[in-house]
């Protein structure tokens, strides 16, 4: 099974990269840009075929390693192909 995990900074947590990207885009002449936030996306292949089990396993991975939930949120999408 293929999975996609998004790890994004929690609301209210400063995102220096997002801020710099927003400014750079404005500098390049793009108009009407509001808030910009940058996060990570992680694509994985899993041997697990059961959806619920896969979801549980991915959540564990996020808690244990992929995200620091003090400042980050994570979300899990399963791409059943």
């Amino acid at each position: 099974m293929k999975a996609r995990i998004h790890i994004t900074l929690k609301q209210g947590v400063l995102d220096p990269q997002g801020k710099a990207i927003g400014q750079a885009l404005e500098g390049l002449g793009f108009d009407g840009i509001g808030d910009v936030r940058q996060g990570k996306v992680i694509d994985l292949d899993l041997a697990e075929t059961d959806e619920a089990a896969a979801r549980a396993q991915l959540a564990k991975m996020c808690e244990a390693l992929l995200a620091n939930t003090v400042i980050e949120n994570y979300s899990i999408d399963l791409l059943t192909s």
């Binding site: 220096p16 990269q17 710099a20 990207i21 750079a24 500098g27 390049l28 940058q38």
Partner: protein
Amino acid sequence: MKAGVIVFPASNCDRDAAVTLAHVTGQSVTMVWHKETALPQLDLVVIPGGFSYGDYLRPGAMAARSPIMRAVVEAAERGVRVLGICNGFQILTEIGLLPGVLMRNAGLTFVSRTVGLTVGTERSPFTRRYARGERLHVPIAHHEGNYLADSETLDRLEEEDRIAFRYTDNPNGSARDIAGILGADRNVLGMMPHPERAADAALGSTDGWRLFAGLVEELQ
């Protein structure tokens, strides 16, 4: 030789480059602010090391799009010598003056150490004072120095004798041990090692000095 150093927000080797250039050329060095749109009359433009724009998004990505870089590209096309060191090399690849990209180091960590280099070619204004195959010791300090290009590009660089420096003990995973490459017209050099940190006997190595001295000589 009249040399200039471009200053981006969070460039941090701009002063180091200027100090070395002032020593070697015996002339004052022009610092050029990134918001400028034109360059003064210069024989050498240095794009210094550092963390322009914090290395946010990708190292060099935002600096490559700043106003002054258009002028730098034009100058390079006119034959002015352009030297990109570390972040400067990243900027030169981002803007397309040099092929390839600098990826995250293979070991994933920042690497700061003095490395061994071999001189790949003496055929350039930057390397004319070195002998091909000569060994040098020059510091590196980077997180994204892992040079990557497709194999045709790498072959072409080799065929055209455009690999200026190679690592003797690859510290970052760079393809074919590449530490620095020349542009097609040989007047643009991008390199990850810092020759300006190896141009003062008190600091350990003077192997970088001849890079600058060669440029001065060539123009005399």
